[in-house]
Every structure is written in structure tokens, then in C-alpha cells.
Symmetry: C2
Subunit: 493 residues, 2 copies
């Protein structure tokens, strides 16, 4: 977990937390118990939202695995430090409130599930992408083993009448064809009635950033259950969590349907991004400004989702969900083929950082020995999230071409994927005598007048490359009085 | 031209119209002259809009080629019959007004261009698609010969200070790399100054149907010129034609940019349609209702352009514009490659009728000897436009599989592409003892309660296949009491 507060804990040898859990539940006696499985980018915040539920008071158990990184989160959570740095001030308000109320306890002991009326599943389900190292996708695979193990743990421990709500983005078919058989099997072993548990699916649309809490609590949701009874239970639970005065809850016909909705939703977005990639190249070839074209077209409601050019797609979802979907189609449903367009979208998106690199190389006539300042390493503006950031392959390409990079990001001090420190002081970066600045993330800082002045005060003539069209025409003009400025997708300058 | 009023004229041997043109202009003396080149689906209506211009009074010359079909249009226009049947009542109002004012004259004599202050180019520019006969695209080519000939005619005849406004959807680069050199060459031959003409590009967003006039007159536009002077002239002209109180005019940096905007716009739409095709198949395989999924996702503004399943894409634009764009990239700009995603979108879309056919065949277990009533042959709801309708390959497939078809469409009586009569009376179609009804176009008629009752009154049990999700769940339920109902993209029924 990036942006994680680390306390360097190692795992205790004989971890056992039943006593602490029981003491916690005794203090919160009479309150229904919600266990959140997985305390990552979704689960940690979902636990806060449950501990601050609108429609009920819950005793919330955050549960994660007994491994160094996850144990560290659990420990921090219990010791008064939220393990995630985020821009949303509500995060701290909700966390402090939970501490005050004493209704949030984190643990690595799966015994926690024995007490839970509701288990919310927020664990990862990853796609293994095979690439050529330059982010060209050559194949991919989905390994359900860790997910299945997590479901087995639930089946071994959960209450007979539990509601299990899967929020993880899963290949369509997973609740019916994977989760249910595992639970049924474990219930049989335990002599419990598999007709008693309730199983549903409802995906979050979490957006790390300043609206983090809001993106869970006040955002429309679809939900479903493996049967009517389960769907009713999911609905009742979500109504206590989600602010339905702000947003709609929509029941779909089956867990297959909601699972498909999530991956379709993200595939659509990945597709829209991939679409504009080849037009970016065309615009450069034809000497036109693609940004003004896209802006002019977007006035039509039917074309409002048209995307702008950029360095590529990052984050945990868009880079893999179309693959999850395609994998499900061929593997779980014996489908007639892959989801070609959706898979191709990922392939195209993965190529974009390489293209941005090539474009830069073409424009500057060689990169060897050049000092390149990278402005922004996160995959999203004003968010410190480097997971699958397109800036990563871009920087790797620069370096393998002999350039020296110095990275800046106001929201990131450590870049875990590249295991390096990121500068947070722009003045320091500018004083390190770079030859080039490459704007890679849409942080507000880089489009402020004061920043433009700061860049214009650099004594040497810089080559400035804006890979995301962040600079206004006015800023381009101002910078161009002192430096050379190029923008990805603008063949006109 | 479909939906054309035909008067069976043959071409006169020695056609010469100068005298009539001069008499017409004498009657409209003092008025600036606008010539519209091409009187097809766009040009005929553009001529009406110019004759009813908001900001000026123009003498309008509609010009088309001396060929049977186009001469017929010219003759009808002059004899008091608008050559196009359309749903928009404004068409007749504008036409009658032009007749009353006497400021619209149609001609096949290119001499007309000698009098025009403004020439609006509304001719076709077609893509030659090679397919396997089952609408699988195997290749394509663009032949600019007819377009170039039309530009040569303008260059040979136009005034030295003419404004030529190209509205045709052209491969990006056409104004600069094709039109301008031709005009320059002809001006040189004529001893005129090529620096005097003005050349611009502004694409229409015409939508045949009830908003036909509105889609020209009150819809936002981008425009450009090959130089500042030309762009200014285009702007001045458009301001007299377009209702800028209702919609914006946006100047882009070059004719390359506006030309690209048009094909990008249509490629985006083609792409969005193609995206949902593979999900349609997946939804059927997974037993879910794709319509409810799309509806649930569309609540997000970022996903509002997500399309619904359907039988495929038709019409003159979306079926070819991505190919025009890709052709331009490789041919006109020496681009690094094709526009792969955009070309693939067309390929996918072209396969959709085949898929709908296969799905039907799978559902009914063979089609040989079956009597299939096709409800709707147009490519769009409530419009009688069969150009490149996806229903065409669908019907051909049915027939090559041994089914007998009877076609119904309230807006089409003749289907020119298949050279056959289309029924306009649904009762007659239902009384012809069909085995199946296939809904292929979104005409309101097919979703009216009375139509559902009419279908339920048929004595035999029908197989009803809705290829576009037109039927409401209520109508599906009602029909299912008497018939078997299936919907494309709904694996749940």
C-alpha cells in the first residue's frame, strides 16, 4: 500500500487476538458486528464508513492477513494512526470519531469472522499481465487461489446466518461459481445449513482523493444477491451505509449482472482512453491541436465522454478489469471468444507511455546524458497513488535510453514500485540543472501562475514536454518566451 | 436517394440553363448568391436553410450533376415538389416559403457557379468497402476522383473572390492537399489570382428525421479556413445561416483540424457501438440482461455515452468515417499506421447483423422454410432511411438460409438497396401467417400498446425476436403469455 504510514513492525510469532476482540465486542455490546475483510485502499476506508454508518451503529472489525505489510496496518489502526495518507479531510474526521466511539478494532485473527453479522469482502483480485518490459501486453492470466483461500477462511469461521457482501472486482460468475461452492462445502463440513447464509455482490466506485469517503458513501450503487433473500439482506445493509438521499441503489437480476456491470464500466472507460491514443498520434502527424478538437466535440451530449490525450492509464482498475472480464467470458462461461475490443483497449493503453517516450525522443533528438525532471509520478491529478502509474514505464524507458531522471510529486515521497525517493520541493528540482521538464500528472501545482514564473526563472533554456495537456495556451505562450514547449497531442506547436 | 419522389425523367440531350439562371437572378437582383453543390440528403436541405437564412436574403442555386437521378431532383425542385420525403414539418414550410419568395432555383448547369458569391459543397465522398458478402470487412479504399472532378468544375467556373465552404465529410487534409491545389491550378489557367478566393471547411451534423432542419440550423458547429481571411469569411457566412443564439460557432486552427473533428466524432460513436457488441454476446452467454446493466452504469456522467445493444450500425456516416480517417492518416500524412481501433470498430459493427442472425438461428433451431416478418428496415427509429441499414445483410442472411421474409416499415415503401416493396400496413403483415416477428428498427409504432394487442391477437404462436431492446419488460411479459419472446443482449429471457 503506497502512501502508507510504516512503523516497521515484524509479525508476532504466536498471534492470537480472540481476547481483544471479545473485549472490544463487550464494550460495543448489542451492536451488530461488521467485519471488513481486507484493509487496502477500499477496505480501510470502507471500515471507516461502516464505523460511521448513517443508519445504524456497528461494531466494526477490520481484518487482514498476518503478513508484514498488513499486520503493520492493523497495528497502526489500533494504535491511533490511520494507515493511509489521503487528501480527504473526512478520513481523519471519521477515524477520530471511530476512535472516540471505540467501535473499530483491527485484527489479523480470522476468528473475527465468527462474530460478524455482515462480512464485507474488500480483498484484491489481481491479473497477472505478461509484457515485454516495455508495457506491451503479450498475455495475461487470472489466479483465483488467494481469493479462494480468503473465501475458505470465511466459510470455516462465519456465522450460519451471515451476510457476505463481496465488493471486490471479480470476474463475472465468481459469486455463483466460486464463492457459493466454497461456502457450501465448508458449511457441509461444519454441519451447518448452507441455506442460511446470504451472499451478495455490490461494487464500490472508490476514487482515492479528496472525495474518498464520498465516493463510497454518497455514490450510486448496484447490488444483487444469489437469491431474493440475499438481495434483500444486501439492500437492508447498504441502506445503513450508503446515503440513499444522495444516490440511488439499483438491484440487478443476479450476481453475474452486477459483477459484469463493474468490469463493463471500467472497460468502457479504458476503451474511451484507448480510442484517443491513436488520434493523438494522428493529430501530431497532421499538425493539429487535438485538445481543441475534443473540446469542440464534447459540446454534444452524445460525445461528452470523449477523453483527452495523455501519457496513459494507471491505477488498479482500468489496467486490468477488461482482462478480468475477458477471462471470465472464456473460462467461466465457455464464451465464443475473448472480449477483443476490451482487451485491445488495455493493450493500447499500455503502449501509451512508450509512445510518449518515443515522441519525446523524436522531438529532442536523443536523450542520452540528458537530465530530465519528471513532474508528477502519480497516475491521477492531485492524488498520491502510484499503483500501475504510466509514469513508471515512461521513466524506465528514459533511463534505459541513458537519461538521468529526477522525480517530483507533491503527493508522493516514496515511489514503492521503483523503490526510490520522490522530491516534494519543486525549487530543489529546478535548481538541479535539468535539461528538460516533463509534466506527467495533472497536479494543480503545475498549472499555477506562480509555478510558471518559477520555471521561467530557471537560467537555462529548458525543453518542456506536457504529456497530458495540462498547460493552458496562456502558460504555453509564457513559457515559450524562455523555453521550448511541446504538448502531447498538439501537432500545432 | 431513398424516399425520393420520382418522376421518371430522362436526361435532356442539350441541357443549358444559363438563361433561366439569369432570369432567376434578375428577379432576385441585389441579393448575394449562394450555390449549393450537391442536392442529396444534406445539400437539398442546406439549400432550403440558405433560402430561409436568418441573417440575410440569398438567391440560392441548387446545383447537381446531369444524371438521371440528380436531374430528376433538380426538375422536381423547380416544379414545386421537394424531392425528399421527411418527417420534419419545417421542410415543407421552408420549401413553400422559398417558392413564394422565388429565391431558390435548381440546375444541372455548372455555369451557376459563375454567379455565386458562396459555394457550399455538399457532395458525397464514398468509401469502397470490400466485404465477404456477409458484411465482414476485408479491405477498403477511397477514390477521390469524383470529388476532385467536382472541385475542378468549381475552379473552372467560380468567381475570383468566391467563398468555397466544404461541408462534405472528407479525409483530413483534403482542403489543403486536394481542394486548394486544384483551385490554384484552375485559377492559374484562367489567369485569376489564387490569393483572392476563400476556402473553408465546416461540417454539418445533419440528422434526417423530425429535427432535420434544426440539425442544420440550430446545432453547434466548428469551422475553419485555409487562412485567417477565409476563416473570417466562413464565420460571416455561417452567422447568417446558423442560429447562433441557439448554438455555438467554434473556430478551429486549420481545415485539417475541422476535417479531423468530423471523422473523430463519428469514429467515437462507431467505437462506442462496437464496444457493446461483444458485451451483448457475453451477456447472453452469462444469462444476464445487458439493458439493465447499461442503464445502471449510465447514471454516471462519465459513462452517459455507453450504448445499448442492437442489430448494428447503419447510415451514411458511421459505417465509413473511421475508414476515411484511417485512410487519410496513412495516405495524406504518411502516418505511422492505420487508426486500428477505429477501423476495428467498423469491422465489429459490420459483423453485428451476422451475429443477430446467428443468435436467432441458434434460438429457433433452424430457419429453412420459416416465414419471418421483419419489423423495420430503416437503420434508425422513426426515420425512413435505409442507406447501409444493418437490416439489409440480416435479411439477406435469413433468405440465404432458406427463410421467406416479409418486410414492414411505416416510413419506407420501397427499399432501393434490395429493390423490393416494403409493407406499410402491419395488419396485412400479421395476417400473412408469419412464424416469427423480428423487430429491427426502433419505430414508435412497434412499442405501442395497441401494436402489442394486435400481435397478441394473431392466432398462431409466434417467435418474437427483438434485436434492439425496444420492448418494455411489461410488453415482453404480455407478449410472452401468447408467444415466445427473446431479446438480443438479454440472456435472462
Amino acid at each position: 500500500m503506497k502512501n502508507e504510514v510504516s512503523n516497521g513492525s515484524s509479525i508476532p510469532v504466536n498471534y492470537e487476538d480472540r481476547a481483544a476482540i471479545e473485549a472490544f465486542l463487550a464494550k460495543n455490546s448489542g451492536q451488530p458486528v461488521v467485519a471488513v475483510q481486507g484493509l487496502g485502499f477500499v477496505g480501510a476506508v470502507m471500515a471507516l464508513v461502516c464505523a460511521n454508518a448513517i443508519g445504524n451503529k456497528y461494531a466494526v472489525l477490520g481484518v487482514d492477513l498476518l503478513r508484514p505489510a498488513t499486520y503493520s496496518r492493523v497495528k497502526l489502526l489500533n494504535e491511533g494512526t490511520f494507515p493511509l495518507v489521503a487528501d480527504d479531510p473526512l478520513i481523519d474526521i471519521y477515524y477520530q470519531n471511530a476512535l472516540r466511539q471505540g467501535n473499530l478494532h483491527a485484527t489479523c485473527d480470522p476468528v473475527a469472522y465468527q462474530y460478524a453479522n455482515v462480512v464485507v469482502v474488500d480483498i484484491n483480485l489481481d491479473v497477472n499481465k505478461q509484457s515485454d518490459g516495455k508495457s506491451e501486453l503479450s498475455g495475461f492470466d487470472v489466479d483465483l487461489t488467494p481469493f479462494k483461500a480468503a473465501m475458505k477462511t470465511l466459510g470455516e469461521n462465519c456465522r450460519e446466518d451471515v451476510l457476505i457482501l463481496v465488493e471486490t472486482t471479480v470476474p463475472p460468475g465468481t459469486c455463483q461459481k466460486v464463492v457459493k461452492p466454497i461456502l457450501d462445502e465448508e458449511f457441509k463440513k461444519r454441519g451447518l445449513n448452507p441455506g442460511k447464509y446470504k451472499l451478495g455482490h455490490s461494487y464500490e466506485r472508490v476514487m482515492p482523493g479528496p472525495q474518498y469517503i464520498h465516493s463510497i458513501q454518497s455514490y450510486p450503487r448496484v447490488y444483487s444477491g444469489i437469491d431474493e433473500r440475499s438481495a434483500d439482506a444486501v439492500e437492508s445493509f447498504l441502506k445503513t451505509i450508503i446515503d440513499t438521499s444522495q444516490c440511488e441503489l439499483t438491484r440487478l437480476g443476479s450476481t453475474n449482472a452486477t459483477e459484469m456491470a463493474k468490469v463493463l464500466e471500467n472497460s468502457y472507460r479504458a476503451m474511451n482512453i484507448s480510442f484517443v491514443i491513436e488520434w493523438t498520434q494522428f493529430a501530431e502527424e497532421a499538425g493539429v491541436n487535438l485538445y481543441e478538437i475534443v473540446k469542440a466535440i464534447r459540446v454534444r451530449n452524445t460525445h461528452a465522454n470523449l477523453m483527452l490525450p495523455g501519457i496513459g492509464v494507471g491505477g488498479y482498475c482500468l489496467t486490468k478489469d477488461p482482462l478480468l472480464a475477458s477471462w471470465s467470458r472464456t473460462t467461466m462461461f465457455n464464451g465464443a471468444g475473448m472480449l477483443d475490443m476490451s482487451v485491445k483497449a488495455v493493450t493500447q493503453n499500455d503502449k501509451m507511455p512508450v509512445y510518449a517516450f518515443r515522441r519525446l525522443k523524436f522531438l529532442v533528438d536523443g536523450l542520452s546524458g540528458k537530465r530530465v525532471a519528471i513532474l508528477g509520478v502519480s497516475y491521477r491529478g492531485d492524488v498520491g497513488d502510484t499503483r500501475f502509474s504510466p509514469v513508471e514505464p515512461f521513466v524506465k524507458q528514459l533511463e534505459s535510453d541513458g537519461a538521468a531522471t529526477i522525480c517530483h510529486d507533491p503527493y508522493v515521497d516514496e515511489w514503492p514500485e521503483l523503490n526510490r525517493t520522490v522530491q516534494q520541493d519543486l525549487a530543489e528540482v529546478l535548481s538541479a540543472s535539468p535539461d528538460m521538464l516533463v509534466i506527467c500528472a495533472g497536479h494543480k501545482l503545475y498549472s499555477m501562475d506562480s509555478t510558471i514564473d518559477q520555471i521561467n526563472a530557471v537560467p537555462q533554456r529548458l525543453f518542456i514536454f506536457d504529456t497530458i495537456g495540462l498547460l493552458s495556451q496562456q502558460h504555453v505562450n509564457k513559457l515559450a518566451t524562455r523555453h521550448q514547449v511541446k504538448v502531447l497531442g498538439r501537432g500545432d506547436i
